[in-house]
């Protein structure tokens, strides 16, 4: 059914077969498809399963945003109380890896990536630092809770400047 054999040995992956592969992906339930031949690889991802703005490319992070996580929050409430005392010294900073401008949301009229008290996962996008129209998504190195946002939307940031404080799990 798949015209994979036509890809084999072909220097370039041909448009018409890609189209077919895409149709196949669209018509089925598969999320993505990767064809590999002679070191050439094609991966086709179902657009319904991808976000429209592209900034939330990490599916783990996306889930974390979408799910309100009521069950987890409940389970964690008792554990949080004793932890609170030592939490002050435990806070970890998410720093800016470059000079630029801090943006808290993917678009001016959309919600910020994260806000205070929100739970985040390791690798979750927390903001954008822009320099010369290069958009750099900043991911958290820590999983935990946003304890403090240290900077306002649209403000310039320096290299290594602390942007958020996170209370790690």
């Amino acid at each position: 059914m798949l015209p994979i054999r036509y890809l084999a040995g072909d220097k370039k992956v041909r448009e018409s077969y890609i189209k077919k592969l895409i149709r196949l992906v669209e018509e089925s339930d598969i999320e993505s498809l990767e064809v590999s031949s002679w070191g050439r690889r094609v991966k086709i991802v179902h657009s319904n399963n991808s976000s429209s703005n592209g900034f939330n490319r990490n599916p783990v992070a996306l889930e974390a945003i979408v799910k309100p996580l009521p069950v987890q929050a409940e389970a964690e409430t008792p554990a949080e109380q004793p932890a609170a005392a030592k939490a002050v010294s435990n806070l970890k900073a998410i720093k800016s890896p470059m000079v630029g401008t801090f943006y808290s949301s993917p678009a001016p009229d959309s919600d910020p990536y994260v806000s205070v008290n929100q739970r985040i996962n390791t690798g979750q996008v927390v903001c954008i630092v822009e320099a010369m129209k290069l958009m750099n998504e900043i991911e958290s190195e820590y999983g935990g809770r946003i304890a403090k946002v240290l900077i306002e939307n649209g403000k310039p940031v320096e290299f290594g400047q602390e942007l958020f404080l996170v209370e790690p799990d």
Binding site: P3, Y6, K12, V13, R14, E15, S16, Y17, I18, K19, K20, I22, S32, R40, R41, V42, K43, V45, S47, S50, S51, S52, N53, G54, R57, N58, P97, M98, V99, G100, T101, Y103, P106, A107, P108, D109, S110, E130, A131, M132, K133, L134, M135, N136, E137, I138, E139, E141, E152, N153, G154, K155, P156, F159
Partner: protein
């Protein structure tokens, strides 16, 4: 033969006759060369016609007349002279956004130089969720995956580097008229002809991959632009007065990009500053720079090798790496 096999045969026939315009090929000869039947070659030629290729076709002969006006991988590849950039080339009829698809492809396992193109974009991206008007058949929407081995802080200059590659490409079609509006727009006659959107993806605070996206207005007529941007946008065709081969232009852009990109890790923009300055629409102008809610007025005096704009404000030099720039109109 089923449809898929016939389309594959059509590709083979095309690669055979593509380079020899106006030469008459006997269908029987092609059938022999491609180990196929004459009536299948005939059907394959019909498919090529349906793809927009200009062929003179009889029961016994095929003559190639002109290529299809398409941004297909086959067509771009025909003109491509790069070593890495675009050697893996994937073209689509329609995508939400070439940057998004390229990013999905690169996530986890990015190969340097993969290029994604689309005939149109249904959700063409500008910065911060703004859109890029991306109609069918008249533009080029291109995203390049690169994995530069450079520290993160050196990445921002890639936007300007890409704008320079685009300006150099357009210069051939509209000599002396192309300008770069720092840092990511290409203007002709003060109207936008192309825009660059660069997205950086990091892992452990190192560059994982970078998606360099560009949207180019190529063959639009003025009335093709929506009312809202009609006075702000232009196309290469409008300025040059000629319809332009989009696949060829794309291949030329990729070649310019590869050339600029090759020297970037070592010297950043060092080797191209002269050309960047010459193309710049801002240098020497009084500008207003807005960053968030802050605004600053001064004279744009230089661009340095990191790509930052040097602005003189009250005889003090300020290095600017972000924000929105507007030129102050002289009375």
């Amino acid at each position: 033969m089923n449809q898929v096999e016939l389309e594959q045969l059509a590709d083979q026939v095309l690669s055979y006759i593509r380079k020899k315009r106006k030469q008459i090929f006997a269908i029987s000869t092609l059938a022999k060369k491609l180990k196929s039947e004459s009536f299948d070659i005939y059907k394959a030629a019909k498919i090529l016609k349906s793809w927009g290729y200009g062929l003179k076709l009889s029961k016994s002969e095929i003559t190639f007349r002109h290529a299809a006006d398409t941004l297909s991988a086959t067509e771009i590849n025909f003109y491509l002279k790069t070593k890495i950039i675009g050697q893996n080339l994937i073209s689509f009829q329609s995508l939400k956004s070439t940057n998004d698809l390229a990013s999905q492809m690169a996530a986890g396992d990015a190969d340097e130089g993969i290029v994604v193109t689309s005939e149109k974009q249904t959700l063409g991206k500008g910065r911060f969720g703004r859109s890029w008007y991306s109609p069918e058949k008249v533009g080029a929407y291109i995203s390049i995956i690169i994995t530069p081995k450079i520290p993160l802080e050196k990445a921002p200059g890639l936007s300007i580097m890409t704008a320079l590659a685009a300006a150099e490409t357009f210069e051939k079609y509209c000599p002396g008229k192309v300008k770069i509006k720092w840092p990511n727009d290409i203007l002709i006659g003060n109207r936008k002809v192309a825009g660059v959107l660069t997205e950086l993806y990091t892992k452990n605070n190192k560059i994982d991959y970078v998606i360099v996206g560009i949207g180019i207005n190529i063959n639009q007529k003025q009335k093709d632009f929506p009312q809202t941007i009609r006075k702000l946008a232009t196309s290469l065709r409008q300025v040059s007065g000629k319809k332009i081969n989009r696949a060829k232009l794309t291949a030329e852009f990729l070649q310019h990009f590869e050339k600029e990109y090759k020297s970037y890790p070592k010297s950043q923009l060092g080797g191209s500053l002269k050309r960047i300055r010459a193309y710049s629409s801002l240098l020497g102008q009084t500008i207003i720079l807005k960053t968030g809610d802050k605004s600053l007025t001064g004279q744009a005096i230089d661009i340095n090798k990191t790509g930052a704009l040097i602005v003189e404000v009250d005889s003090e030099k300020v290095t600017v790496s972000g924000g929105e720039v507007t030129v102050v109109k002289r009375p």
